[in-house]
Symmetry: C2
Subunit: 333 residues, 2 copies
């Protein structure tokens, strides 16, 4: 990829503008993932934290705080906090999903074992709360402990809904809010809170993060049926093969006739998948227009994210946050 | 067991004196383990929380707060907090240890699956932090987020030390502090802090919980080689069969000659255990006096717990806390 095309992505421009803050966040992350007694902890953490994550969530904290005029240092602690919470949930997710690859590398549960992934995840959760306590802000602690509960609740809900054709769009939205949007919205809101932003700005920052996270996840789920592996790091149809009920399938099931329903029951609930089933699924989704309808929903959430920024003070970072919400769905057109 | 012999146990007398508080804690626990969206969460939690746990950790919070003259309601939130953290670590431990039984019942990972145990544990951690935020005390949040980090660090250290004959008594003590004593000492210290007790009383309450937890765990590890299954819920030699390096073995390995060392290497590191090996291990520990030395250490920690109470104001609960530290090691004589 040429430097030029990299520079065009809004998140990369944001990273460049926040480079100094991000350096300090990375230093803090490395300091706090250390353990005096248990060297396995930084080993496992580094495998994930240093593996070219895009630091999107920390950047949301930093940008939100900065555009509200914050000049202190607590936003660095909050940025490290959300990255630790994110890393902890990735470690636990990979155990739950029995994943073998993440970001193109073998997962920690494969390199070490499930035990290390569970316990190092717990350690990072605890470290995240220690960092928050250091900010001295009970409001921030409130926001992020609520987010942590919503994340775990969303993950359990996803587990219960797995392979269940009765899953509704409402349940899907709750899962997406939990597993993706809750940490986005907590990041942007907490950034505003630490900067002591007025109530309407905090609400707007929350609404932006929430809508951005939902748009992001819906787009991800749609790209699983359309996208190229380079963009998502996944192969077309991975979710289908894992029998995940994402929005395009939920919409197709809702519009299915008896014969189509039998097909979905066989491939998703029973899990008896044969050659040509993915093509047939794509054909059914196309026939009912559910891929297009899913794209429309992602774009509506992205628009909602941009709209929310209307209540946020004008700032270079506000403009880039708006561009990030466009970028998330631009891949879909 | 007759009512009389029950009534003699100091922890049962404490429970009777704290009955009203404990009722309110149980109500709070049931309220907060609920989930609007994911019914599996209260199912899994109830399986453990309602399974006849002795609520020792919540009682330590309540007693510490009360004996410092506390009259508010935050101690109830803290008591529920430590029970949630304890339950979360049990859920994750059972995944890590691949356990099939706890408190005489099948474990949650067996009844549901590892995924539910990991995610419901995460949910309870988050709920614990929400409860702490409600107390409005950053000091309490500091104490318990530090404890949560120490617990996870101790568990990872235990994982690294597993089946490793080079494990020292120092490492064993760090593991025990993490997996058991950290939550005991956080419970008693936080009880004092919420009651706004003076610094020396807080330190004494911390020291009591720390020493009690260490005595408790050393006694547990010793009883694994001596005790009856009724007292501990475990069979004699369970730890030996799982190749755990507890204090009696660590001491025996340190005193082993070449032939004995070969035996320990075979049964613990290689894991090639044969009929009669447990008897031979007991004989070696007896020959070197390591069971007696381990008992002496447990008793020294119990004495240290009692001593620490000297700096705590006179109170009926202080006396019972002293009796609890005696009780923990009385089983060993």
């Amino acid at each position: 990829m040429s430097l030029d095309s990299t520079a065009r992505k809004p998140q990369d421009r944001l990273a460049a503008l926040l480079a100094e803050d991000l350096d300090r966040v990375n230093t803090l992350i490395r300091e706090r993932m250390a353990s005096r007694h248990a060297p396995r902890i930084p080993e496992v953490t580094a495998h994930l934290v240093e593996a070219g994550g895009k630091r999107l969530r920390p950047m949301l904290v930093l940008a939100a705080a900065r555009l509200c005029g914050y000049t202190g240092a607590h936003h660095l602690r909050l940025a490290a906090t959300v990255e630790f919470i994110h890393t902890a949930t990735l470690l636990h997710d990979d155990v739950v999903d029995e994943s073998r690859q993440r970001r193109g590398r073998p997962t920690a549960n494969l390199l070490w074992d499930n035990k290390s992934s569970v316990l190092v995840g717990d350690y990072l959760f605890a470290r995240a709360f220690q960092l928050m306590v250091e900010t001295g802000s009970l409001e921030v602690l409130d926001i992020l402990s609520n987010a942590a509960a919503t994340i775990a609740e969303g993950e359990v809900l996803q587990l219960q809904a797995a392979r269940n054709l009765a899953t509704t769009e409402e349940t899907y939205l709750q899962v997406v809010r939990g597993k993706t949007a809750a940490l986005f919205s907590a990041a942007t809101e907490a950034g505003g809170v630490i900067a002591d932003a007025p109530e309407d700005v905090r609400r707007a920052l929350f609404a932006y993060g929430d809508a951005l996270g939902i748009a992001f996840q819906i787009a991800d789920d749609l790209l699983d049926f359309r996208g190229d592996a380079t963009a998502t790091g996944k192969n077309v149809g991975d979710d289908f093969r894992e029998r995940k009920l994402t929005l395009p399938i939920i919409k197709a099931v809702a519009r299915a006739d008896a014969e189509e329903r039998a097909f979905w029951t066989r491939v998703i609930e029973t899990g008896d998948q044969r050659d040509g089933d993915l093509d047939h699924a794509l054909e059914l989704m196309d026939r009912h227009g559910t891929l297009a309808a899913t794209r429309d929903e992602a774009m509506a959430w992205a628009a909602r994210a941009r709209e929310a920024l209307g209540a946020v003070p004008p700032h270079e970072f506000r403009d880039i946050l708006g561009e990030i919400s466009d970028y998330v769905v631009a891949r879909l057109s």
